[in-house]
C-alpha cells in the first residue's frame, strides 16, 4: 500500500506558524520548530526568545554579516529587530518557567493523550543524552505546541496513550501539529482540529494510538 502524501517538515512549520499572533513572545526549539520563523505570516511582528538571553531575534545573519557573539540556541548567527533586549541565562529561563512566553514550540518523539511530552532521549540510545532548555520551556509557557511527524519512520504512532520514551514534562502540551493533523489537548482528551489536505479523520485515527475526539466535520489545513 502506498501512502498518500504527508506534509513536508517545511509544511508542518508553515502550519504551525499560523498559530502565532502579532506581538507574541515565542520560543522555537530544535528541529521543525526552528523552521517556523521562515513562514511567519506577513505583517506579523513576533518577538523570538532565545535561552541564551535574547528577546527580539530577527532573521539569520547573511554571509559576511555574522556576529558570533549574537547566536541563537542552535548556535546560528542571528540579527536583532528593533526593541530587542539582552539578558543573562537565568533571566531567560525565568521567562520560560514563569509563564511569560506566549507560545513555545518544541519538537517531539512522543506525546500522550494527557499531553505528556517525550522529546529529549531515545530509549537505549548511547551516550549521555542532553536536556538543554526543553524541560524549563515545557513547564512554563502559556501555550506549548509540539511539531513532529505523526509516525516514526517505521510507522509506529507517536501520539500515544502513554509515553514509553523518557519524559520531558507531564501534561504540558496544548497543541500538536504533525504531517497529518492539528490536534488540541483538552481536559476531555485529544481533539482533532484539522487534518492534512487529502486525509480523513478516520485515516488519521488509524495512524494514532491515542483516541481522537472528532467533533462534527473536521476541516483540512490551509497552506496557502
Amino acid at each position: 500500500m502506498t501512502e498518500k502524501a504527508r506534509l513536508t517538515r517545511e509544511q508542518i512549520a508553515q502550519r504551525a506558524a499560523q498559530e502565532l499572533y502579532d506581538g507574541a513572545y515565542v520560543n522555537l526549539g530544535w528541529g521543525i520548530p526552528n523552521l517556523i520563523a521562515d513562514y511567519l505570516p506577513r505583517g506579523l511582528t513576533v518577538y523570538f526568545h532565545s535561552e541564551n538571553g535574547i528577546l527580539g531575534m530577527g532573521r539569520r545573519a547573511k554571509p559576511g554579516e555574522e556576529d558570533f557573539d549574537l547566536v541563537d540556541a542552535m548556535k546560528v548567527p542571528v540579527t536583532l529587530i528593533p526593541g530587542a533586549s539582552i539578558f543573562h541565562q537565568a533571566d531567560a529561563h525565568l521567562m520560560t518557567r514563569g509563564g511569560h512566553l506566549d507560545i513555545a514550540v518544541l519538537g517531539g518523539f512522543q506525546v500522550s493523550e494527557k499531553g505528556d511530552l517525550a522529546n529529549w532521549k531515545i530509549p537505549g540510545s548511547k551516550g549521555s543524552g542532553g536536556i538543554g532548555g526543553a524541560m524549563d520551556i515545557a513547564s512554563g509557557s502559556k501555550k506549548l505546541i509540539v511539531c513532529m511527524e505523526h509516525n516514526t519512520k517505521e510507522g509506529a504512532p507517536k501520539i500515544v496513550r502513554s509515553c514509553n520514551y523518557p519524559l520531558t514534562g507531564l501534561e504540558c502540551v496544548d497543541t500538536i501539529v504533525t504531517d497529518l493533523a492539528v490536534i488540541d489537548v483538552t481536559p476531555e482528551g485529544l481533539v482533532l482540529r484539522e487534518t492534512a489536505p487529502g486525509w480523513t479523520a478516520e485515516e488519521v485515527q488509524a495512524r494514532t494510538e491515542a483516541q481522537l475526539i472528532v467533533r462534527s466535520a473536521v476541516p483540512q489545513m490551509k497552506l496557502a
Binding site: 528577546l55 528593533p82 539582552i86 533571566d91 525565568l94
Partner: protein
C-alpha cells in the same frame, strides 16, 4: 505592535478592581510610582493588598492609600518612620500586616516571577518571622520554607520606556521596580520619557518589554523625607 501606551494616568489604572493584589516599587523616596498611586487613590479602589517595602511617608507615596482606608492588608519589610497613616489603621485593626525581611521579600517575588514554588533560607530562623513556617535542616543548617508572593498588578516607576515597554531606571530609583515588573501578572509603569522602539540599545535594557503591559507618561513626583 501591541499598543501599550495609556492616554492618561486615570486610563492607566482604570481597570484595577477592588480587592486587587498590587506591588508598588520604590525605596527611600526614589523610584515610587507616585503619579499612579495618586490616580489609584482618586479612583477609590478599595480592599487592596499592597506589597511594598514600606507604607508611605505621611501622605506621600503609599501614605494616601492608608489615609483613605483603601488598603486592607500589606506585605512589607519596613513600614518606615513616617508611616503614620498606616500605623493608625494598623492600631485600630483596620489593616493587617505581614512583615518580611527585605531580601526575602525580593526573593519571594522573584520566586513567583521565575515560576518556582518556594525556597529554603536561614534568614529568620529562630525569629518571629519563622512562626508558622516549615522548618528543617539542609546542609547542616536550620532553614525555613518561604513561599512565592504573586500579584495581580505591579505599579512601578522607570526613567525611560520605549514604545514597546523596554525600561531603564535612574540610579538607585531602580531598587524594587525590576523585580516587581517580573513578578506581577500585569505591570503598569510610569515613566518620565517615552522613546521610539529601537532607541534603547538592547544591552542597556534593564526590564525587557515582555514584563511590561502598560506605559504611561508622568512627570516624576517626589515627597520630602
Amino acid at each position: 505592535m501591541k499598543q501599550k501606551i495609556a492616554s492618561s494616568l486615570d486610563a492607566a489604572i482604570a481597570d484595577i478592581p477592588d480587592g486587587a493584589r498590587i506591588m508598588f516599587g520604590g525605596f527611600g523616596g526614589a523610584g515610587f510610582p507616585n503619579s499612579l498611586i495618586q490616580a489609584l487613590s482618586k479612583k477609590g479602589v478599595k480592599n487592596i493588598t499592597a506589597i511594598s517595602n514600606n507604607c508611605g511617608t505621611r501622605e506621600g507615596e503609599l501614605g494616601v492609600m492608608f489615609k483613605n482606608g483603601q488598603v486592607k492588608h500589606v506585605i512589607c519589610s519596613f513600614p518606615g518612620p513616617h508611616a503614620n497613616y498606616f500605623q493608625e489603621r494598623f492600631a485600630k485593626g483596620e489593616v493587617t500586616c505581614e512583615l518580611v525581611p527585605q531580601g526575602i521579600l525580593c526573593e519571594r517575588m522573584r520566586t513567583a516571577a521565575a515560576g518556582l514554588l518556594g525556597f529554603y533560607t536561614t534568614v529568620g530562623v529562630g525569629t518571629e518571622v519563622a512562626i508558622g513556617k516549615e522548618e528543617r535542616v539542609l546542609d547542616g543548617r536550620r532553614c525555613i520554607l518561604e513561599l512565592p508572593i504573586h500579584a495581580d498588578y505591579a505599579l512601578i516607576k522607570a526613567q525611560r520606556a520605549d514604545e514597546l515597554g523596554n525600561l531603564t531606571y535612574r540610579l538607585a530609583a531602580r531598587n524594587f521596580n525590576p523585580i516587581m515588573a517580573k513578578a506581577a501578572k500585569f505591570t503598569i509603569v510610569e515613566v518620565e520619557e517615552i522613546v521610539p522602539v529601537g532607541a534603547i540599545p538592547p544591552e542597556d535594557v534593564i526590564t525587557p518589554a515582555i514584563f511590561v503591559h502598560r506605559i504611561v507618561h508622568a512627570k516624576g513626583m517626589r515627597f520630602a523625607g
